[in-house]
Symmetry: C2
Subunit: 205 residues, 2 copies
DNA sequence: CATGCGATTGACTCGTCAGTCAACCGCGAG
DNA sequence: CTCGCGGTTGACTGACGAGTCAATCGCATG
Protein backbone atom coordinates (compact mmCIF):
# COMPACT_ATOMS: atom_id res chain seq x y z
CA UNK A 1 0.00 0.00 0.00
CA UNK A 2 2.85 2.32 0.78
CA UNK A 3 4.25 1.50 -2.60
CA UNK A 4 0.82 1.73 -4.13
CA UNK A 5 0.42 5.22 -2.72
CA UNK A 6 3.89 6.05 -3.88
CA UNK A 7 2.95 4.76 -7.31
CA UNK A 8 -0.12 6.93 -7.39
CA UNK A 9 1.84 9.94 -6.22
CA UNK A 10 4.39 9.22 -8.90
CA UNK A 11 1.70 8.98 -11.55
CA UNK A 12 0.25 12.29 -10.40
CA UNK A 13 3.66 13.94 -10.48
CA UNK A 14 4.16 12.55 -13.97
CA UNK A 15 0.89 14.02 -15.21
CA UNK A 16 1.88 17.35 -13.74
CA UNK A 17 5.24 17.16 -15.49
CA UNK A 18 3.49 16.13 -18.69
CA UNK A 19 1.39 19.27 -18.52
CA UNK A 20 4.40 21.47 -17.78
CA UNK A 21 6.36 19.98 -20.68
CA UNK A 22 3.44 20.48 -23.02
CA UNK A 23 3.10 24.04 -21.81
CA UNK A 24 6.73 24.76 -22.68
CA UNK A 25 6.14 23.60 -26.23
CA UNK A 26 2.92 25.55 -26.61
CA UNK A 27 4.27 28.75 -25.01
CA UNK A 28 7.39 28.56 -27.17
CA UNK A 29 5.36 28.01 -30.32
CA UNK A 30 2.52 30.47 -29.82
CA UNK A 31 3.54 32.72 -26.98
CA UNK A 32 1.87 32.81 -23.59
CA UNK A 33 -0.81 35.35 -24.45
CA UNK A 34 -1.64 33.86 -27.82
CA UNK A 35 -2.20 30.35 -26.51
CA UNK A 36 -5.32 28.99 -24.83
CA UNK A 37 -5.39 26.68 -21.87
CA UNK A 38 -7.11 24.20 -24.18
CA UNK A 39 -3.97 24.22 -26.36
CA UNK A 40 -1.89 23.13 -23.40
CA UNK A 41 -4.37 20.40 -22.51
CA UNK A 42 -4.47 19.17 -26.11
CA UNK A 43 -0.68 19.20 -26.41
CA UNK A 44 -0.44 17.21 -23.17
CA UNK A 45 -3.14 14.80 -24.32
CA UNK A 46 -5.18 15.57 -21.26
CA UNK A 47 -8.61 17.01 -20.50
CA UNK A 48 -9.04 20.75 -20.16
CA UNK A 49 -10.03 20.59 -16.52
CA UNK A 50 -6.98 18.62 -15.49
CA UNK A 51 -4.79 21.62 -15.99
CA UNK A 52 -6.82 23.28 -13.25
CA UNK A 53 -6.46 20.24 -11.03
CA UNK A 54 -2.69 20.71 -10.95
CA UNK A 55 -2.46 24.47 -11.32
CA UNK A 56 -4.55 27.28 -9.93
CA UNK A 57 -4.39 29.26 -13.16
CA UNK A 58 -2.73 29.59 -16.53
CA UNK A 59 -0.34 32.07 -14.93
CA UNK A 60 0.72 29.53 -12.34
CA UNK A 61 1.89 27.19 -15.09
CA UNK A 62 4.29 29.81 -16.42
CA UNK A 63 5.33 30.85 -12.92
CA UNK A 64 6.23 27.26 -12.16
CA UNK A 65 8.31 26.86 -15.30
CA UNK A 66 10.17 30.07 -14.66
CA UNK A 67 10.86 29.47 -10.99
CA UNK A 68 12.02 25.89 -11.52
CA UNK A 69 14.72 27.05 -13.89
CA UNK A 70 15.62 30.40 -12.39
CA UNK A 71 16.21 28.85 -8.98
CA UNK A 72 18.71 26.50 -10.56
CA UNK A 73 20.49 29.49 -12.08
CA UNK A 74 20.59 31.25 -8.72
CA UNK A 75 21.94 28.15 -7.02
CA UNK A 76 24.68 27.86 -9.62
CA UNK A 77 25.70 31.48 -9.19
CA UNK A 78 25.66 31.21 -5.40
CA UNK A 79 27.73 28.08 -5.44
CA UNK A 80 30.20 29.80 -7.77
CA UNK A 81 30.30 32.83 -5.56
CA UNK A 82 31.61 30.79 -2.67
CA UNK A 83 34.43 29.31 -4.68
CA UNK A 84 37.89 30.77 -4.97
CA UNK A 85 37.98 31.70 -8.63
CA UNK A 86 38.93 34.73 -10.66
CA UNK A 87 36.02 37.01 -11.53
CA UNK A 88 36.56 36.26 -15.18
CA UNK A 89 36.15 32.56 -14.52
CA UNK A 90 33.04 33.07 -12.45
CA UNK A 91 31.48 35.18 -15.17
CA UNK A 92 32.49 32.60 -17.72
CA UNK A 93 30.79 29.89 -15.73
CA UNK A 94 27.61 31.95 -15.55
CA UNK A 95 27.63 32.66 -19.26
CA UNK A 96 28.33 28.98 -19.89
CA UNK A 97 25.45 27.89 -17.70
CA UNK A 98 23.00 30.18 -19.46
CA UNK A 99 24.19 29.25 -22.92
CA UNK A 100 24.15 25.54 -22.08
CA UNK A 101 20.65 25.89 -20.68
CA UNK A 102 19.66 27.19 -24.07
CA UNK A 103 21.49 24.41 -25.87
CA UNK A 104 19.90 21.80 -23.64
CA UNK A 105 16.32 23.08 -23.85
CA UNK A 106 15.92 25.98 -26.27
CA UNK A 107 12.15 26.02 -25.96
CA UNK A 108 12.21 26.41 -22.20
CA UNK A 109 14.78 29.18 -22.38
CA UNK A 110 12.79 30.90 -25.09
CA UNK A 111 9.76 30.88 -22.85
CA UNK A 112 11.65 32.13 -19.82
CA UNK A 113 13.39 34.92 -21.67
CA UNK A 114 10.61 36.03 -23.95
CA UNK A 115 7.68 35.63 -21.58
CA UNK A 116 9.23 36.47 -18.22
CA UNK A 117 12.67 38.02 -18.22
CA UNK A 118 11.99 40.33 -21.13
CA UNK A 119 8.35 40.85 -20.30
CA UNK A 120 8.83 42.92 -17.19
CA UNK A 121 5.46 44.57 -17.67
CA UNK A 122 3.44 41.40 -17.28
CA UNK A 123 5.19 38.44 -15.69
CA UNK A 124 8.53 40.01 -15.16
CA UNK A 125 6.85 42.49 -12.85
CA UNK A 126 5.86 39.69 -10.49
CA UNK A 127 9.20 38.04 -10.73
CA UNK A 128 11.33 41.16 -10.77
CA UNK A 129 12.69 40.55 -7.25
CA UNK A 130 13.69 37.04 -8.25
CA UNK A 131 15.27 38.23 -11.48
CA UNK A 132 17.03 40.94 -9.59
CA UNK A 133 18.64 38.43 -7.29
CA UNK A 134 20.65 37.25 -10.27
CA UNK A 135 21.69 40.79 -11.18
CA UNK A 136 22.74 41.42 -7.62
CA UNK A 137 24.80 38.26 -7.39
CA UNK A 138 26.61 39.19 -10.59
CA UNK A 139 27.17 42.69 -9.24
CA UNK A 140 28.69 41.15 -6.12
CA UNK A 141 31.22 39.31 -8.24
CA UNK A 142 32.16 42.54 -10.00
CA UNK A 143 32.41 44.38 -6.72
CA UNK A 144 34.74 41.77 -5.23
CA UNK A 145 36.93 41.96 -8.33
CA UNK A 146 37.09 45.72 -7.99
CA UNK A 147 38.11 45.37 -4.35
CA UNK A 148 41.09 43.18 -5.22
CA UNK A 149 42.08 45.31 -8.19
CA UNK A 150 41.16 42.88 -10.95
CA UNK A 151 38.55 45.27 -12.31
CA UNK A 152 38.62 49.05 -12.61
CA UNK A 153 36.94 50.72 -9.66
CA UNK A 154 35.25 53.47 -11.70
CA UNK A 155 32.29 51.44 -12.94
CA UNK A 156 29.23 50.83 -10.81
CA UNK A 157 28.92 47.07 -10.22
CA UNK A 158 25.20 47.34 -10.98
CA UNK A 159 25.89 48.80 -14.40
CA UNK A 160 28.49 46.19 -15.13
CA UNK A 161 26.11 43.43 -14.09
CA UNK A 162 23.34 44.79 -16.28
CA UNK A 163 25.63 45.15 -19.26
CA UNK A 164 26.97 41.63 -18.81
CA UNK A 165 23.60 40.02 -18.38
CA UNK A 166 22.08 42.18 -21.12
CA UNK A 167 24.74 41.18 -23.59
CA UNK A 168 24.14 37.48 -22.94
CA UNK A 169 20.40 37.79 -23.05
CA UNK A 170 20.54 39.70 -26.30
CA UNK A 171 22.69 37.01 -27.87
CA UNK A 172 20.21 34.36 -26.72
CA UNK A 173 17.43 36.49 -28.12
CA UNK A 174 19.36 36.60 -31.38
CA UNK A 175 19.40 32.81 -31.51
CA UNK A 176 15.79 32.53 -30.47
CA UNK A 177 14.60 34.75 -33.27
CA UNK A 178 17.13 33.51 -35.77
CA UNK A 179 18.90 36.81 -36.07
CA UNK A 180 22.18 35.11 -35.15
CA UNK A 181 23.40 31.77 -36.48
CA UNK A 182 23.05 28.84 -34.09
CA UNK A 183 25.07 25.71 -33.51
CA UNK A 184 27.42 24.17 -30.96
CA UNK A 185 30.38 26.05 -32.32
CA UNK A 186 28.56 29.37 -32.15
CA UNK A 187 27.51 28.65 -28.58
CA UNK A 188 31.08 28.03 -27.47
CA UNK A 189 32.41 31.06 -29.26
CA UNK A 190 29.77 33.32 -27.85
CA UNK A 191 30.42 32.26 -24.26
CA UNK A 192 34.04 33.19 -24.70
CA UNK A 193 33.23 36.32 -26.66
CA UNK A 194 30.82 37.88 -24.17
CA UNK A 195 33.10 37.22 -21.23
CA UNK A 196 36.19 38.37 -23.12
CA UNK A 197 34.57 41.57 -24.25
CA UNK A 198 33.02 42.58 -20.98
CA UNK A 199 36.00 41.58 -18.85
CA UNK A 200 38.47 43.33 -21.13
CA UNK A 201 36.33 46.38 -20.81
CA UNK A 202 36.29 46.09 -17.04
CA UNK A 203 39.95 45.38 -16.48
CA UNK A 204 42.35 48.28 -15.88
CA UNK A 205 43.76 49.62 -19.15
CA UNK B 1 -10.63 78.12 -48.12
CA UNK B 2 -7.20 76.79 -48.68
CA UNK B 3 -6.29 77.97 -45.22
CA UNK B 4 -9.58 76.74 -43.88
CA UNK B 5 -8.86 73.28 -45.24
CA UNK B 6 -5.38 73.53 -43.88
CA UNK B 7 -6.87 74.49 -40.52
CA UNK B 8 -9.16 71.51 -40.57
CA UNK B 9 -6.36 69.21 -41.65
CA UNK B 10 -4.26 70.61 -38.84
CA UNK B 11 -7.04 70.04 -36.32
CA UNK B 12 -7.37 66.46 -37.51
CA UNK B 13 -3.63 65.90 -37.26
CA UNK B 14 -3.73 67.35 -33.75
CA UNK B 15 -6.45 64.93 -32.69
CA UNK B 16 -4.45 62.08 -34.08
CA UNK B 17 -1.39 63.25 -32.17
CA UNK B 18 -3.52 63.69 -29.06
CA UNK B 19 -4.58 60.06 -29.30
CA UNK B 20 -1.01 58.89 -29.89
CA UNK B 21 0.26 60.85 -26.90
CA UNK B 22 -2.49 59.50 -24.71
CA UNK B 23 -1.68 55.99 -25.90
CA UNK B 24 1.94 56.40 -24.85
CA UNK B 25 0.86 57.31 -21.34
CA UNK B 26 -1.63 54.48 -21.10
CA UNK B 27 0.67 51.84 -22.61
CA UNK B 28 3.48 52.95 -20.31
CA UNK B 29 1.23 52.83 -17.27
CA UNK B 30 -0.72 49.64 -17.88
CA UNK B 31 1.05 47.81 -20.65
CA UNK B 32 -0.35 47.23 -24.11
CA UNK B 33 -2.18 44.01 -23.36
CA UNK B 34 -3.59 45.16 -20.05
CA UNK B 35 -5.10 48.35 -21.42
CA UNK B 36 -8.39 48.72 -23.25
CA UNK B 37 -9.01 50.95 -26.23
CA UNK B 38 -11.49 52.77 -24.03
CA UNK B 39 -8.61 53.69 -21.70
CA UNK B 40 -6.80 55.37 -24.56
CA UNK B 41 -9.93 57.26 -25.58
CA UNK B 42 -10.57 58.37 -22.02
CA UNK B 43 -6.96 59.48 -21.53
CA UNK B 44 -7.15 61.46 -24.78
CA UNK B 45 -10.50 62.96 -23.78
CA UNK B 46 -12.07 61.61 -26.94
CA UNK B 47 -14.87 59.24 -27.86
CA UNK B 48 -14.13 55.55 -28.18
CA UNK B 49 -14.98 55.43 -31.86
CA UNK B 50 -12.59 58.23 -32.77
CA UNK B 51 -9.63 55.99 -32.11
CA UNK B 52 -10.94 53.81 -34.93
CA UNK B 53 -11.38 56.83 -37.16
CA UNK B 54 -7.65 57.50 -37.03
CA UNK B 55 -6.32 53.97 -36.62
CA UNK B 56 -7.41 50.69 -38.10
CA UNK B 57 -6.84 48.83 -34.84
CA UNK B 58 -5.33 48.98 -31.39
CA UNK B 59 -2.24 47.34 -32.86
CA UNK B 60 -1.85 50.10 -35.41
CA UNK B 61 -1.57 52.67 -32.64
CA UNK B 62 1.42 50.88 -31.17
CA UNK B 63 2.89 50.21 -34.61
CA UNK B 64 2.71 53.92 -35.36
CA UNK B 65 4.42 54.91 -32.12
CA UNK B 66 7.19 52.40 -32.66
CA UNK B 67 7.84 53.21 -36.30
CA UNK B 68 7.86 56.96 -35.75
CA UNK B 69 10.66 56.64 -33.24
CA UNK B 70 12.58 53.74 -34.68
CA UNK B 71 12.83 55.41 -38.07
CA UNK B 72 14.44 58.41 -36.40
CA UNK B 73 16.96 56.08 -34.77
CA UNK B 74 17.73 54.45 -38.11
CA UNK B 75 18.16 57.83 -39.77
CA UNK B 76 20.56 58.92 -37.05
CA UNK B 77 22.64 55.77 -37.41
CA UNK B 78 22.70 56.03 -41.19
CA UNK B 79 23.73 59.65 -41.09
CA UNK B 80 26.46 58.76 -38.63
CA UNK B 81 27.58 55.90 -40.81
CA UNK B 82 28.34 58.27 -43.66
CA UNK B 83 30.50 60.53 -41.54
CA UNK B 84 34.20 60.16 -41.06
CA UNK B 85 34.40 59.28 -37.39
CA UNK B 86 36.13 56.67 -35.29
CA UNK B 87 34.02 53.60 -34.54
CA UNK B 88 34.14 54.47 -30.88
CA UNK B 89 32.66 57.89 -31.59
CA UNK B 90 29.95 56.47 -33.79
CA UNK B 91 28.97 53.98 -31.13
CA UNK B 92 29.04 56.71 -28.54
CA UNK B 93 26.69 58.80 -30.64
CA UNK B 94 24.29 55.87 -30.96
CA UNK B 95 24.35 55.18 -27.25
CA UNK B 96 23.88 58.89 -26.59
CA UNK B 97 20.91 59.07 -28.93
CA UNK B 98 19.20 56.13 -27.28
CA UNK B 99 19.87 57.36 -23.77
CA UNK B 100 18.77 60.88 -24.64
CA UNK B 101 15.62 59.52 -26.20
CA UNK B 102 14.89 57.95 -22.86
CA UNK B 103 15.71 61.13 -20.99
CA UNK B 104 13.52 63.16 -23.30
CA UNK B 105 10.50 60.85 -23.25
CA UNK B 106 10.87 57.96 -20.82
CA UNK B 107 7.31 56.80 -21.31
CA UNK B 108 7.66 56.47 -25.07
CA UNK B 109 10.93 54.59 -24.73
CA UNK B 110 9.43 52.34 -22.12
CA UNK B 111 6.63 51.44 -24.50
CA UNK B 112 8.96 50.85 -27.43
CA UNK B 113 11.35 48.69 -25.47
CA UNK B 114 8.92 46.78 -23.31
CA UNK B 115 6.12 46.30 -25.82
CA UNK B 116 8.02 46.00 -29.09
CA UNK B 117 11.76 45.54 -28.92
CA UNK B 118 11.65 43.12 -26.01
CA UNK B 119 8.37 41.54 -27.01
CA UNK B 120 9.63 39.65 -29.99
CA UNK B 121 6.84 37.11 -29.73
CA UNK B 122 4.03 39.57 -30.30
CA UNK B 123 4.92 42.93 -31.80
CA UNK B 124 8.61 42.40 -32.14
CA UNK B 125 7.84 39.55 -34.51
CA UNK B 126 6.15 41.93 -36.93
CA UNK B 127 8.85 44.53 -36.58
CA UNK B 128 11.81 42.19 -36.43
CA UNK B 129 13.08 43.20 -39.87
CA UNK B 130 12.93 46.85 -38.85
CA UNK B 131 14.65 46.18 -35.53
CA UNK B 132 17.22 44.13 -37.34
CA UNK B 133 18.11 47.04 -39.58
CA UNK B 134 19.53 48.76 -36.53
CA UNK B 135 21.55 45.68 -35.53
CA UNK B 136 22.90 45.43 -39.05
CA UNK B 137 23.92 49.06 -39.19
CA UNK B 138 25.78 48.71 -35.91
CA UNK B 139 27.41 45.54 -37.20
CA UNK B 140 28.55 47.51 -40.26
CA UNK B 141 30.31 50.01 -38.04
CA UNK B 142 32.09 47.21 -36.22
CA UNK B 143 33.03 45.54 -39.47
CA UNK B 144 34.53 48.74 -40.85
CA UNK B 145 36.52 49.21 -37.66
CA UNK B 146 37.84 45.68 -37.97
CA UNK B 147 38.86 46.33 -41.56
CA UNK B 148 41.00 49.32 -40.57
CA UNK B 149 42.44 47.57 -37.54
CA UNK B 150 40.70 49.59 -34.84
CA UNK B 151 38.89 46.50 -33.58
CA UNK B 152 40.07 42.93 -33.24
CA UNK B 153 39.11 40.84 -36.24
CA UNK B 154 38.24 37.70 -34.29
CA UNK B 155 34.77 38.74 -33.20
CA UNK B 156 31.77 38.41 -35.48
CA UNK B 157 30.36 41.90 -36.12
CA UNK B 158 26.88 40.51 -35.54
CA UNK B 159 27.80 39.31 -32.07
CA UNK B 160 29.45 42.58 -31.23
CA UNK B 161 26.40 44.51 -32.41
CA UNK B 162 24.06 42.36 -30.33
CA UNK B 163 26.22 42.68 -27.25
CA UNK B 164 26.46 46.44 -27.65
CA UNK B 165 22.76 46.95 -28.25
CA UNK B 166 21.84 44.40 -25.58
CA UNK B 167 23.96 46.15 -22.99
CA UNK B 168 22.30 49.50 -23.68
CA UNK B 169 18.83 48.08 -23.75
CA UNK B 170 19.38 46.27 -20.50
CA UNK B 171 20.55 49.48 -18.85
CA UNK B 172 17.45 51.27 -20.12
CA UNK B 173 15.38 48.38 -18.84
CA UNK B 174 17.07 48.82 -15.50
CA UNK B 175 15.97 52.44 -15.40
CA UNK B 176 12.49 51.62 -16.61
CA UNK B 177 11.90 49.13 -13.84
CA UNK B 178 13.82 51.04 -11.24
CA UNK B 179 16.50 48.43 -10.83
CA UNK B 180 19.15 51.05 -11.60
CA UNK B 181 19.25 54.60 -10.24
CA UNK B 182 18.13 57.31 -12.65
CA UNK B 183 19.14 60.91 -13.17
CA UNK B 184 21.04 63.10 -15.60
CA UNK B 185 24.35 62.19 -14.11
CA UNK B 186 23.64 58.49 -14.35
CA UNK B 187 22.59 58.89 -17.96
CA UNK B 188 25.84 60.58 -18.90
CA UNK B 189 27.95 58.07 -17.05
CA UNK B 190 26.18 55.12 -18.55
CA UNK B 191 26.64 56.36 -22.12
CA UNK B 192 30.36 56.56 -21.52
CA UNK B 193 30.42 53.32 -19.58
CA UNK B 194 28.72 51.13 -22.15
CA UNK B 195 30.84 52.47 -25.00
CA UNK B 196 34.04 52.31 -22.96
CA UNK B 197 33.40 48.77 -21.89
CA UNK B 198 32.38 47.34 -25.21
CA UNK B 199 35.03 49.22 -27.20
CA UNK B 200 37.79 48.29 -24.79
CA UNK B 201 36.70 44.72 -25.20
CA UNK B 202 36.75 45.02 -28.98
CA UNK B 203 40.06 46.79 -29.37
CA UNK B 204 43.24 44.77 -29.81
CA UNK B 205 44.84 43.93 -26.49
C1' DC C 1 -17.57 -7.82 -4.61
C1' DA C 2 -18.60 -3.24 -2.51
C1' DT C 3 -16.98 1.18 -1.01
C1' DG C 4 -14.77 5.40 -1.29
C1' DC C 5 -11.63 8.75 -2.73
C1' DG C 6 -8.67 11.10 -5.71
C1' DA C 7 -7.89 11.62 -10.65
C1' DT C 8 -10.05 12.90 -14.83
C1' DT C 9 -13.45 14.67 -18.00
C1' DG C 10 -15.46 18.44 -20.96
C1' DA C 11 -19.72 21.17 -21.41
C1' DC C 12 -20.98 25.36 -19.71
C1' DT C 13 -20.90 30.07 -17.62
C1' DC C 14 -19.71 34.63 -17.39
C1' DG C 15 -17.10 38.64 -18.03
C1' DT C 16 -14.41 41.10 -21.13
C1' DC C 17 -13.17 43.84 -25.05
C1' DA C 18 -12.00 44.82 -29.94
C1' DG C 19 -14.21 46.54 -33.46
C1' DT C 20 -18.83 48.26 -35.90
C1' DC C 21 -22.23 51.44 -37.10
C1' DA C 22 -25.98 54.56 -37.35
C1' DA C 23 -26.80 58.87 -35.71
C1' DC C 24 -25.23 63.51 -34.72
C1' DC C 25 -22.55 67.86 -34.88
C1' DG C 26 -20.46 72.03 -36.73
C1' DC C 27 -18.36 74.53 -40.19
C1' DG C 28 -17.51 76.22 -44.84
C1' DA C 29 -19.51 76.78 -49.42
C1' DG C 30 -22.94 78.19 -52.40
C1' DC D 1 -30.30 79.87 -44.80
C1' DT D 2 -29.37 75.22 -46.32
C1' DC D 3 -26.75 71.66 -47.89
C1' DG D 4 -23.20 68.36 -47.39
C1' DC D 5 -19.26 66.30 -45.67
C1' DG D 6 -15.69 65.09 -42.62
C1' DG D 7 -15.12 64.69 -37.80
C1' DT D 8 -17.16 62.82 -33.68
C1' DT D 9 -20.07 60.11 -30.62
C1' DG D 10 -20.96 55.91 -27.70
C1' DA D 11 -24.24 52.00 -27.44
C1' DC D 12 -24.05 47.62 -29.14
C1' DT D 13 -22.49 43.01 -30.92
C1' DG D 14 -20.00 39.00 -31.46
C1' DA D 15 -16.27 36.25 -30.38
C1' DC D 16 -13.40 34.45 -27.42
C1' DG D 17 -11.31 32.15 -23.62
C1' DA D 18 -10.33 31.62 -18.48
C1' DG D 19 -12.04 29.26 -14.97
C1' DT D 20 -16.04 26.23 -12.74
C1' DC D 21 -18.34 22.14 -11.59
C1' DA D 22 -21.09 18.10 -11.54
C1' DA D 23 -20.55 13.78 -13.37
C1' DT D 24 -17.63 9.72 -14.29
C1' DC D 25 -13.75 6.70 -13.88
C1' DG D 26 -10.57 3.40 -11.95
C1' DC D 27 -7.88 1.69 -8.47
C1' DA D 28 -6.70 0.23 -3.71
C1' DT D 29 -8.61 -1.50 0.30
C1' DG D 30 -11.39 -4.30 3.42
Amino acid sequence: MASARAGAAQAAADKRRQILDAAVRVFARQGFNQCRVSDIAAEAGVAYGLVYHYFRSKDEVLDTLFLERWNVLLEVIRELDGRDLAAREKLHAIAAFIVDSYRHDPELMKVIIVEVTRAANSFGRTHLPKIREAYDLIADIVEAAQADGTFRPDVTPDFAAMAFYGAIEQVLTGWIFEVLPRGDEEYERSKAFVVETICSGLEPR
